[in-house]
Amino acid sequence: MKEELPPRLTSALDELRTTLDRAAELAKQIESQPKPNAPSTAADLQSRLADAESDRLELSARLADYEHQVGRLMNLYVATYQLHATLDPAEVQSTIAEIAINLLGAERFVLLFWKENATQCEIALSQGLEADKSGMYTGGVYAGGDAMVDATLSDGVLRIGPIAGSDAVAAVPLTVQGTTVGALVLLRLFPHKAALKPEDRDLLDLIAAHAASALFAARVYSATDRKLKTLESLVKLVRR
């Protein structure tokens, strides 16, 4: 004898059967629809892989370029910051030397300033000159004779070698309010730095624009400060 199911259970079973039928219908519908973006062939897959590889290479190149630009800007920022971070003339000169050595890779260089009579350039700072055999930088002055240096001191134009008649790597004019007051001459780079790079040009431009003005501002401040202290001492003396 077949056992009768309670009416509530029968109703639930019917509902479950209907739901399962509906689910089966939906599954058939989904399977019959074309899958969007689905690769149809191996060639299609290859093409998409090639596109992805091309995108990866482009992104790598962009990242390298971005890192390069960041490095360039870092150098410029640090050089500018440090040049204007002090009002002590000796420290400004030291910063110019540090830029030449640490950022440009100069093993031998000389910082020249026109003397007041403007007939000779004095050597304000130098590095590695003891190994220089040109004889142009002796007795604390630049005797003249290097075509690149002479031209830059004369017309205030930045020059990068090689230039006929010169052994210098670069001659950077130092200008204050449009007047050339001297030059930073790079005579030799470190052996591990074969040549100046394109981004070094930015640093040379920065030195041309900022080094002399920073140095002159520091010298003026130093002189004014000295005078002020002298005057203060005099006033104290008079008041006694």
């Binding site: 890192e67 870092m74 640090v78 050595i101």
Partner: protein, 122 residues
């Protein structure tokens, strides 16, 4: 390695500023000669990397390495020599003195990060 506290030993203020810009996520301690570097290294046992110049007044980089490597507590801190002297002989001398890596100036942030990343944590 990924250092958290780095000691910079270099007599160039410009380089100290450069490291501040390049290593913003790291705590930096600054010394301007080898002796100052040794003093800071002794006072700060949590320093996990030293960036060391070779040519400095009072105590140069190689002398710094001699003192640091003779002290068992300081010897375990990795040292990267960062200098303008890029000859093979200089590199060999620096590494023989106990440095873990060698980087020549001028350098950029990518090269510095690469050299630091290539070191194993102590």
């Amino acid at each position: 390695m990924t250092p958290r506290k780095v000691l910079v030993v270099d007599d160039s203020k410009l380089l100290h500023r450069m490291y501040e810009v390049m290593l913003r996520q790291v705590v930096l301690l600054h010394a301007y000669d080898g002796q100052g570097g040794i003093d800071l290294l002794r006072k700060n046992p949590d320093i996990d990397l030293v960036l060391l110049d070779l040519n400095m007044p009072i105590m140069n980089g190689l002398e710094f390495l001699t003192v640091a490597k003779a002290d068992p507590q300081l010897a375990k801190v990795p040292v990267i020599i960062v200098t303008t002297e890029g000859s093979d002989a200089q590199t060999k001398r620096g590494l023989e003195a106990g440095a873990n890596a060698y980087l020549t100036k001028p350098f950029d942030a990518t090269r510095l990060a690469h050299v630091i990343g290539s070191l194993e944590s102590p």
